[in-house]
């Protein structure tokens, strides 16, 4: 490690820049969330894939299976819930049966309550509240490896036209994607860590890579806080790119200024 560029009285050495960057995120996020006009966000290709797939299921008279992941309330789950809301709206409008597997981890119980409200609201808004059935949102245990055979069992029994798997999934993603393919279902997935994305890039008809999932969730929900999140992330990607380019130039001409700045 290199010597910090500067120290700040009262602040623990080596953590100043990190502290300032987190504070800056707070400021930017609150600023963008408070803005009347939402930040611009481009439409991601995942949405066209979802619309095509639900339409195909409607034509075939087959159900749609859509899951929002096994995690608690975290980054990927909230994106998954936004996409679930959109799929529930499409299914309610087209009278297509929607099955939502829930559960999978000790944190998922609390998310399930929010998901049930979300889907019920979608059917109510579409004027089809009588079609909403909590039975089609089964809780498949709080254990990842009991949730997986439960989810696979649903695919084998129901043989859906489309399987949309978003939110945070771990190793069970491959079980589900392969079985979804085996029962002839269109498989749309979202990977939330690199190994999953690589494997799902093979196993799915369409895979949302990295932030495409939260970006799709933000685009659909038009929720200012989700839009602000994507905006702040883009800004910090530019900060990261800037630091790396300047740092590489500096260090290769003999100055470790950027490295020492980062280590302050």
């Amino acid at each position: 490690m290199v010597e910090p560029l500067f120290t700040f009285p009262g602040l623990i050495t080596g953590r100043t820049i990190g502290f300032l960057l987190v504070i800056l995120i707070f400021v930017l996020a609150i600023y963008y969330m408070g803005q009347a006009k939402s930040p611009y966000i481009r439409r991601v290709p995942a949405l066209d894939a979802i619309e095509d797939a639900v339409g195909r299921s409607t034509e075939m008279g087959k159900p749609v299976v859509c899951s929002f992941g096994c995690g608690g309330f975290e980054y990927w789950t909230i994106a998954g819930l936004s996409i679930l809301g959109y799929v529930a709206k499409l299914c309610a409008e087209t009278d297509t049966r929607l099955i939502v597997p829930t559960g999978g981890s000790s944190d998922s119980y609390i998310v399930r309550e929010a998901a049930v409200d979300l889907v019920r609201n979608a059917y109510t808004v579409a004027g089809k509240s009588e079609n909403f059935s909590e039975e089609d949102m089964p809780f498949l245990s709080g254990e990842q490896y009991a949730y997986t055979p439960g989810y696979v069992g649903i695919l084998v029994r129901e043989r859906p036209g489309t399987t949309i798997m978003t939110g945070s999934h771990w190793s069970e993603a491959m079980n589900i994607a392969e079985m979804s393919n085996a029962v002839g279902s269109i498989t749309i997935t979202a990977g939330c860590y690199t190994s999953n994305m690589a494997a799902l890039a093979c196993a799915s008809d369409y895979v949302m890579l990295g932030e495409e999932q939260p970006a799709a969730g933000a685009y659909l929900s038009r929720d200012p806080s989700q839009l602000a999140s994507i905006r702040v992330q883009d800004i910090y990607k530019f900060i990261a790119i800037g630091l790396m380019i300047l740092g590489l130039i500096a260090i290769n001409i003999g100055s470790d200024f950027i490295k020492r700045l980062i280590s302050s």
């Binding site: 894939a49 095509d52 490896y145 085996a182 002839g184 269109i186 190994s195 008809d205 369409y206």
Partner: protein, 289 residues
């Protein structure tokens, strides 16, 4: 394919029942395990660096031995677990063992029964040389608290024996460990990086499953890890390096056949795809891409 068309090899290559892959994978794995061939193996730079890190430990050094794996994860990391613990026992390193998953409770019996002979040889005993604390890493708050005030969180081992008066008296926070040795399928490893390595600077070596290798390489390159052993193959290379053949080297035949089987099936799939699917304008049923 109606009878009139007759057998089309390309069509079969593109549409054969995938369950044949499952049957063949069972066979190519089970057969060499029962009739080992014993193929050569090369040792990678990654494994040598990992070995150098483990080998740098001295007698009496206290290692935080973090078993962040389900029992299934142990099936993949077994070679690395057995090989490194053999080194620890021979060097007289003290181990503070903690689990990151409740299935971890079933692993010590298996590990220490396999290493019974070397433990007897070096008189390596529970409570004197290693202490099992049990499933004490269930979430991030638990790891952070343990790192900051060790004895404020833990007062007894997994069987209820007090840890006062043992070698753990020398530990007040995570900075007092000579090293963190982590076997991981994910779980609490990220929390240990944040609250032990980053905050206290304790060096950390990791034996991770295949899925975690890309992320682990990034942490190794960034200096957060000081050593990385990659999945079953890394464990087999370590067995070879220390001259203690075990389940890792025994599995390498099946490993070779399993990889070559997948490669052959990929080639078959591509031939079938170009030889039949593309020729008959077989519309991909999704029409999305």
């Amino acid at each position: 394919m109606t009878k009139e068309e007759g057998f089309d090899l390309f069509r079969w290559m593109a549409t054969y029942d995938k369950r044949w892959i499952y049957v063949i994978l069972f066979i190519v794995v089970l057969y060499p395990l029962m009739r080992p061939v014993g193929m050569p193996i090369t040792v990678s730079e990654l494994t040598r660096d990992y070995y150098d890190q483990i080998n740098s430990l001295k007698e009496g050094d206290i290692v935080f031995d973090s078993w962040n794996m389900e029992f299934s994860g142990y099936m993949e990391l077994k070679p690395g677990v057995l090989a490194t613990h053999r080194i620890f026992i021979e060097k007289g390193v003290k181990l503070c063992i903690a689990f990151g998953h409740f299935e971890g409770v079933a692993i010590p019996d298996v590990v220490f029964s396999e290493l019974r002979s070397v433990m007897q040889e070096y008189d390596y005993r529970e409570l004197d040389d290693y202490i099992i604390l049990g499933y004490i890493l269930p979430n991030e708050a638990a790891v952070a608290a343990l790192a900051q005030d060790f004895h404020g969180v833990v007062r007894q081992d997994w069987k209820g024996n007090p840890i006062e008066g043992t070698f753990l008296d020398q530990i007040t926070n995570a900075g007092d460990f000579a090293m963190i040795n982590d076997y991981t399928t994910g779980l609490a490893t990220t929390f240990e990086v944040r609250h032990m390595v980053l905050t206290y600077g304790t060096p950390m070596v990791v034996n991770c499953i295949g899925v975690s290798i890309p992320g682990a390489l990034a942490n190794l390159d960034a200096g957060l890890y000081t050593g990385l052993l990659a999945s079953t193959r890394g464990g087999a290379e370590l067995e070879y390096l220390i001259g203690a053949p075990g389940p890792g080297l025994k599995s390498m035949d099946a490993f070779t056949f399993g990889h070559y089987m997948l490669i052959i099936f990929i080639i078959i799939g591509n031939i079938g795809h170009y030889g039949w699917a593309r020729r008959t304008r077989y519309r991909d049923r999704t029409g999305i891409r």
